[in-house]
Amino acid sequence: MTNKIKGPSSIKTYREAINDALRQEMRRDPRVIILGEEVSGGAGCEGQDDAYGGVFGVTKGLMPEFGRERVIDTPISESAIIGAAAGAANNGLRPVAELMFFDFIGVCFDQIFNQAAKFRYMFGGKSRTPMVIRGTVGAGWRAGAQHSSMLHPVVTHIPGLKVVMPSNAYDAKGLLIQAIRDDDPVLFLEHKIMYDLKCEVPDEAYAIPFGEAAFPREGTDVTIVAISNMVHRAIQAADELAKEGISCDVIDPRTVSPLDEESILESVEITGRLVIVDEAHERCSLAADISSIVAEKGFSSLRAPIRKVTAPHAPVPFSPVLEDAYVPSVERIIRAVKDVLGA
């Protein structure tokens, strides 16, 4: 995954890249604020301020620089948090709200899908809601059924929302900057298993446009579309398969709404074969969505069934052995690729 980097850069973790994006945008634009639970930490306590900087440490150091006025710790009231972000976005701010775990959309979904997402349309194009909701997704932390979901299919279904799922630090920084500058509500979903993942990241601010896929591996036999953390498993699978002479075209859409349909269709035109890897449950999933787009618009290129490699139709189990079996594995991807090749 090589990004053409000009100018000074450094090796950064996914966590640091997100922090970097927030800091640079907050410096550039006084309208950018952050709010959520523990985004700083220590409010009303005797000990240290900025005690957490987000429970994953992503927003660490921002409160000391920008103050409690712009890095706002809140009560445990997610509807109020998202509502405050949306209302503030309608009125001149560019808030970045944090849902510590994206699983918590259950207690604030109305403010996301019925309010923020619909304002512009309902109000005849007269409003702008430039807000970002950052949330952590995904399994692997042994956090159990209520803290490990993906849920991107749920929000991707909703018109008016944009959904961004970076798979590496470089994309995370560029896409978050774009998300903050974007005038629509953006869900920025961080897979918690990737926070310590590193890559080279430019020091300066840069925005990656939405709807443009990345191509971590190029190939001609099978197209593999994978998102978020699954990109790494897809790459691993592709590298394994390369040893057996199977050439995979790995596509990372990076944003799932909007989706870079074109790149996927172009790839399938060449390969004729498609495997989609998605950590979400299978029903009405992004995997299903991409499959259906290709089955509709790329049908004539298809030379084999489209395979979905997804999490099963079950909640995320706690027990490590079960959770490991739950998340799509490199082996399952390899098997799916071989299946569509009839190998």
């Binding site: 509502g83 405050a84 972000a85 009125n91 109305d110 512009r120 007269k126």
Partner: protein
């Protein structure tokens, strides 16, 4: 004279505009000219006007499914509103919103809301923007007695206190949430007391009394504008019509509406008071009535004549700011 006559005439004109607008909506709905669900606010005009009359265009209000009155009181164009309610392309929201989704950002009206309890969190946001940007604007949210039981509203009260937001929570207690009595649905004895327990000043007022309501609002708005945080008001009022137009209202007591219209009509109470006090003359108000009726007549005419949206160009427009 504690109020100057320009103020009183404006208050009267605005209340009357709401009344005639709502009555006409009902008529046009019954005539088949207004699609969908419409929730009329006649009977509650005094609260909308008392709340908004001192607000500027940059102060923000967030409204409810029963939002025509708030919109008019905040200065929205009634012709644009009527067109919107009729689903026309030149309506305030290009016909895409309708009665339950009117907004006018130029007037600081950030939206009716068809979700009970949808608006209060958003008004916290508007207030947060004002606080962060230091504009001194305040936000005022409207909600009913029914909305007060929605978790989103309750947590917004606490949230506003914690962040000390310039937000006035106005609760219009008209005794009903649809066909359920406020007595039943509010477990507490007093909504004003319950709101106060969240840690903000909170007052009860007879919402049919324009002047009493105005005075409370003035205090509340000053409190918020001075950076002292949120303020809650419970204003008791009467819903003259059904929950929605067409509601048979079987749940209401015999003669309840008749008696309310006789004794608790906020516009009548206002008129009687200003005449009795010698603040305004009946003729001045009668003249306004004539103008208002003409205005609403124009709104309906223009509404009926206005073009429909064009599915070709409008159906997919404005889902996003950028694609």
């Amino acid at each position: 004279m504690p109020y100057d006559s320009a103020f009183l005439l404006r208050a009267y004109r605005t209340m009357k505009t709401i009344r005639i607008f709502e009555e006409r909506c009902i008529k046009e709905f019954e005539a088949g000219n207004v699609p969908g669900f419409v929730h009329a606010s006649n009977g509650q005009e005094s609260i909308a006007v008392a709340s908004c009359i001192d607000l500027s265009d940059t102060d923000i209000i967030g409204s409810t499914h029963r939002g025509h009155g708030h919109s008019i009181a905040k200065g929205c164009d009634v012709i644009g509103m009527m067109k919107e309610i009729m689903g026309k392309a030149t309506g305030l929201c290009k016909g895409k919103g309708g009665s339950m989704h009117i907004a006018d950002f130029d007037k600081g009206m950030i939206g009716a809301n068809a979700i009970v309890g949808g608006g209060q969190p958003l008004c916290n946001g508007a207030a947060l923007a004002s606080k962060t940007l230091g504009t001194k604007d305040i936000a005022m949210s409207f909600g009913g007695d029914g909305s007060a039981n929605q978790g989103t509203v309750l947590e917004s009260l606490n949230f506003a206190v914690v962040l000390k937001l310039p937000h006035v929570f106005m609760f219009e207690n008209n005794g009903y949430g649809e066909g359920t009595g406020a007595n039943y649905a509010l477990g507490c004895d007093s909504l004003a007391d319950r709101n106060r327990a969240f840690g903000m000043p909170s007052e009860y007022v007879d919402g049919t009394d324009f002047f009493a309501t105005y005075e409370v609002c003035k205090r509340a708005i000053a409190h918020a504008r001075d950076g002292k945080g949120p303020f809650a008001i419970e204003a008791e009022t009467v819903r003259f019509d059904g929950h929605f137009i067409g509601d048979p209202q079987l749940y209401r007591g015999k003669d309840e509406i008749k008696l309310a219209k006789k004794n608790r009509d906020c516009i009548k109470i206002f008129r009687d008071r200003v005449i009795k006090e010698g603040w305004l003359k009946a003729e001045e108000m009668d003249a306004i009535d004539t103008e208002v009726i003409a205005l609403i007549e124009t709104a309906v005419k223009e509404g009926l004549a206005a073009p429909n949206p064009d599915p070709e160009t409008d159906l997919m427009a404005d889902v996003y700011c950028s694609y």
